[in-house]
């Protein structure tokens, strides 16, 4: 198998390439032609698909893996999220999975020999009422029982931690306290896709971009391959990791999923000097804010709240999100928005993801990530690879099965019911 000229990135390689005027850096991954058949095909070269391919090759010794991508790698939700990483979940089925993911994040740059700029700057959820503080205490305790760090903060502690936050009593939603996960933070989202792509490619995985799947071939309830705009490719195992397009891919195999696609927007301001040193979120107006390493204040809010496959949203939601941010940080009032964009969320009916087998033999599904796919990237790939390699889920993603909707073992963190957009 043709392997890419994988060269470790190091201080020494930086020096050596500097001496040759940076003309001799090897390319980070190949651009191969698709072969006739593979052992495993992963559809979708976002963070999840690439991580899956990486762990399949690295941990499960699977050779002949292809990752098919209709556009360019990392061009979907991997490059559109607000880069937040956390594991502050209450239900065991979610908490253990996301905590595993967070632990993988903690060693990811080293694992991939690629700086994903993981910064454990803390994730702070603000509470705006006594009852919200009580629910945070319950969640924090549940997290600590699962061995996850959580700390309940009082307004004075929050004022010291985030001095620019409006902690006064005169604001629209006065702050009663908050729940802090110190080990949470942010990462450079593109670098995660690039790091996994480079790592997978070095292990012999074919990453095939501009290759759109147009059909899934199934024979006697067993998958045999996929049709693409670059020809038919055979494989006994096909894994889907296509986020917002999950419904369309499943329909190609004649399946219907408990998922709706919705557009979620995010936006950044012009760059500022560092003023927000942690991730701040507020459930009262549903907004989450952090400051990027470039200095832009990056934030997002709620869905546009109608089914959508458009990777762009609408102005009423932007206005609402901006108002919410200004309620918390009035000091940003004169700052200009630089850019807004949208991504298509695969909203599941209970707000939790699905990693597991589909009712067709050899087909596996990874989706339903709602707002929270980015933080799950390493854990999702790790569990999905295990599920594909062993044809059964790992203990960590057993609860995330598709069957839970039929059996009733839902993972509805908020208890908000079977409406995709309410999660």
């Amino acid at each position: 198998m043709a392997k890419s000229p994988f060269k470790r990135y190091s201080g020494f390689s930086l020096l050596r390439n500097a001496l040759s005027n940076h003309r001799r850096w090897p390319r980070a991954w190949r651009d191969p032609e698709p072969r006739k058949s593979y052992d495993v095909i992963i559809v979708g070269a976002g963070g999840h698909g690439l991580a899956t391919a990486y762990y399949l090759a690295k941990l499960h010794g699977v050779k002949n893996i292809a990752v098919l991508e209709k556009g360019w790698l990392g061009g979907g939700n991997t490059g559109r999220n607000t880069t937040i990483v956390r594991s502050n979940y209450m239900l065991d089925g979610n908490a253990n999975f996301y905590e595993h993911s967070l632990k993988l994040w903690e060693g990811l740059s080293k694992e991939l020999n690629y700086n994903v700029m993981f910064s454990q700057r803390g994730v702070l959820n603000l509470a705006h009422s006594d009852s919200e503080m009580e629910s945070f205490a319950i969640r924090g305790n549940a997290m600590r029982l699962n061995g996850i760090d959580a700390e309940l903060l009082l307004p004075d502690q929050i004022r010291q931690m985030v001095p620019h936050l409006d902690c006064s009593q005169s604001t629209r939603y006065p702050i009663f306290g908050g729940l802090l996960q110190e080990r949470g933070g942010t990462a450079r989202h593109d670098a995660v896709a690039w790091g996994y792509a480079r790592g997978a490619d070095a292990l012999g995985v074919d990453i095939i971009q501009n290759c759109e799947v147009s059909g899934i071939r199934v024979k006697d309830n067993r998958v045999v391959g996929v049709d693409t705009n670059r020809g038919s490719i055979d494989a006994p195992k096909v894994g889907l990791a296509v986020a917002g397009n999950s419904g369309r891919l499943a329909a190609m195999a004649g399946l219907k999923l408990p998922i709706e696609s919705h557009v979620l927007q995010a936006m950044v301001t012009e760059p500022l000097k560092p003023i927000i040193h942690t991730v701040v979120t507020s459930g009262a107006s549903h907004v989450y804010i952090n400051q990027t390493d470039k200095g832009e204040v990056l934030f997002g809010g709620d869905l546009d709240l109608y089914n959508s496959y458009a990777q762009r949203g609408n102005l009423p939601r932007i206005e609402y999100v901006v108002q919410s941010v200004l309620t918390l940080f009035p000091c940003l009032r004169r700052v200009r928005l630089m850019r807004t964009w949208g991504g298509v969320m695969d909203m599941s009916m209970d707000g939790s993801p699905i990693i597991g087998k589909l009712p067709i033999d050899g087909m596996y599904f990874n989706g339903g990530w709602c707002y929270g796919g980015f933080k799950a990237t390493p854990g999702s790939g790790w569990c999905f690879a295990h599920t594909i390699a062993n044809d059964e889920p790992h203990e960590l993603n057993k609860a995330l099965s598709l069957e839970r909707f039929e059996t009733g073992a839902l993972l509805d963190e908020k208890g908000s019911g079977a409406f995709a957009f309410s999660h």
Binding site: G247, K256, P258, I259, L305, Y306, N307, A310, N314, L315
Partner: protein, 85 residues
Amino acid sequence: MLLIPCPWCGKRAQTEFTYRGDATVERPDLADSDSQWYDYVYTRDNPRGEHTEWWHHTGGCRKWFKVRRNTWTHEVISSEPPVRD
């Protein structure tokens, strides 16, 4: 800003409305199978393209109606009162 055509009030800004989702799912009979109920409660066609959906004119006449809208282009095609097809 989407303009949603309320069958009674005419075109109004989307901010006057509440969205409820796919209007093609039909509630099964109580005696129907678990799998029919599973489909009704959870699974959706989730098309990229034309979609028939429930909207409520919350900030207006407070009536429910069906809108046919393209989920890819956001083009609003038609609307009708909540009648059975």
